[in-house]
């Protein structure tokens, strides 16, 4: 009996701690006179942390920049960055923690599609404004949900940019597709096929697995069929392997690839030189490559927060979302509430998305703020935007 009393005592102490620990009482969660709490989640441990840090850090850099230049109506943005290890179970925990424990005002996060899909229900149930960080699955924000917004080009956008580009290439009659077996590649491939000129014939659809060591079989198989173009729905490392082996085994036709390899300079390094990425066209959601004068401002903002990191195009995923969040916070006014914030999000029009190619526009009927992209290629040893349609290369 005594044990029971002691236990209930403990429980009540715990209860007090829980309540006392949460943010000071205010009209709206995550808001204090001097700060706005934004929750973030992404893969910060495990294999995918390779992408998680640069992406989340891009957003953090923008928030830091905003804080350094005065904040928003005197409030500084405080980021709570949680790890989801690209694992749905952990992502659900992270999001519940952000909602229940951290009491954040809004969430800006999610790089792996599966984690976002898993956490989606909790976010909606909590009526939490949510801006997707880098997951590109169309299903996340379409059909429209009041609380979910994306600024990154959805997978379907990727696919249709590629399809448009292929249609504009001269004398393309046959293509071969190489893709991963996952929803990421499927979304892009489906949109691509739907938008593809019906006169162009797909002669082969090959699979390449994640983490493969080589792609000889694929290269040999495709070479036999001799298509005019190869379309690759593959991640950066696998694209490098595929390209390397394709070139090695004499498959010299042009490659059209997704935004995942828009950092062509990086790709050329991995695949073994500039020669390998000649005739490689990658879809891109950015206006200009890192290092170009147009992106210099954003490079600087990133370096200000993470001086030791190598700037990757991945970081711009995070930036465009952060710009949307900041813009909506500003337009929601000093008496910030979630309702006002959502209203501001839904009326975003032609927002300059910084390094992004598009202008972000959101309406109550469309929460995918950015559906336009361009195509990049290596010209004269430099990565340049060549536009969504083929332009005869100047010799």
């Amino acid at each position: 009996m005594q044990a029971l009393r002691r236990l209930s005592g403990l429980a009540s102490i715990g209860l007090v701690l829980c309540v006392g620990g949460s943010a000071a009482w205010s009209a709206e969660p995550g808001i204090a006179p001097d700060k706005i709490k934004i929750g973030m989640f992404g893969p910060l441990t495990g294999p995918v942390s390779l992408w998680g840090y640069p992406i989340n850090n891009g957003a953090i850099a923008v928030y830091n920049h905003v804080n350094a230049t005065g904040g928003i109506y005197g409030r500084k943005i405080e980021v709570v960055d949680e790890d989801d290890a690209c694992d749905p179970a952990k992502a659900v925990a992270a999001v519940k923690k952000l909602i229940v424990r951290e009491d954040v005002f809004a969430i800006h996060g999610g790089t792996c599609s599966a984690t976002v899909m898993a956490a989606k229900d909790d976010i909606i149930e909590a009526k939490m404004p949510y801006v997707v960080m880098a997951a590109t699955l169309d299903k996340i924000s379409s059909p429209v949900n009041k609380y979910i917004y994306t600024t990154t080009m959805p997978g379907s956008g990727d696919g249709s940019v590629m399809a448009r580009f292929v249609a504009s290439m001269p004398q393309v009659k046959t293509i071969a597709i190489v893709k991963h077996s996952d929803e990421w590649a499927d979304t892009k491939a489906d949109a691509f096929s739907a938008a593809l000129d019906k006169k162009i014939k797909v002669v082969a659809t090959e699979q390449i697995d994640r983490k493969v060591t080589d792609a000889v079989s694929q290269a040999v198989r495709i070479k036999q069929l001799n298509p005019d173009v190869v379309i690759a729905f593959t991640y950066p490392a696998e694209t490098a392997v595929l390209l390397r082996d394709a070139r090695k085994y004499g498959l010299t036709v042009p490659f059209v690839a997704t935004t995942s390899v828009m950092d062509l300079a990086d790709l050329s390094q991995r695949a073994g030189g500039v020669d390998v990425v000649k005739q490689v066209y990658a879809a891109s959601f950015l206006a200009s490559p890192p290092g170009s004068s147009a992106s210099a401002k954003w490079d600087e903002i990133y370096k200000a927060s993470f001086p030791n990191d190598k700037l990757q195009t991945l970081s711009f995923f995070g930036m465009s979302g952060a710009l949307l969040v900041v813009d909506a916070l500003r337009r929601a006014g000093p008496d910030l509430t979630r309702e006002k914030f959502i209203q501001a999000l839904e009326t975003t029009k032609d927002l300059d998305a910084g390094p992004a190619y598009c202008k972000i526009s959101i309406t109550p009927e469309n929460h995918q703020g950015c559906t336009q992209g361009t195509v990049w290629s290596f010209v004269d040893g430099k990565v340049v935007p060549v536009g969504a349609t083929w332009i005869e290369p100047k010799q």
Binding site: V216, S217, Q218, V220, R221, K248, K310
Partner: protein, 291 residues
Amino acid sequence: MSELLTLIAAGLEVGSLYALMALGLVLIYRTQSIVNFAHGELLMAGAFVGYVAFQPMSWPFPVALVLAVLSSTLLGVAVERVVIRPLVNHPHATLAMATVGVSVAVRGAARLPFGSDILTFPPIISAAPVFIGSLVISAQTVLTIVLAVSISVAVFLLIWKTRLGREIRATQQNYLGAKVVGINTGKIYSSSWAVASAIGGAAGVLAAPLTLLYPDMGATFLLKGFAAAVLGGFGNPLGAIVGGIAIGILEKLVGAYFSTYLIEISPYVIIIVVVFVRPQGLFGRGQIVRV
């Protein structure tokens, strides 16, 4: 026809790496009945050390190779001394778990310096590939195969022609017998791990130009190594080599002539088929039922 030869050459290249993995796994399994789940990390460590020496330091390739082999060896011996030795008398499951722990820890450690990027190891010989009709063979392929074969031959000579090799075999066959004839079994344990880890490290450097470098790169090779070892009859070094090469070639052929969707799964199908049809593997002698 020449596609077939091209595929076989490419299959030989990866296959010889699988073979090296399997050889290391079998050596350790035979000596201590340990299924070494940290073997992929020995490969990874070798690859990264080789990379650092060859790329940022731009030391010559042989130096990089030696450094990689040395550091993997050191890591392997350390694992044996610190983790495995205290557990010698424990059940297989416990030992395997310990190696799983090591594997996770090493991967985590590698992520600190190398976790933020996928690195590329340039081809060691940058000569253009040779085209004979449509048969394509690159200098890198030839180098990989030649080095892998030399390493295997060296290991076989060590096992069959030296006193150390004989003592290793003796310890594998009868632990107590080895003690009785005055073999320092502790030294044999360390040596087995040293040899196996050295092979793993060498495989890492050879694999590096073929694949890309990231902390999780070992897993793929580990699983293929397992498949090769089972195909060869887990416990037979020659079987491991043949198994590895067979799986390497088979993967390429399955991919090119059946479907690229089946490439990664084919080694596992082989394991299951082998266990159903010929559990002693290609080279086992039927001693598979433990009594």
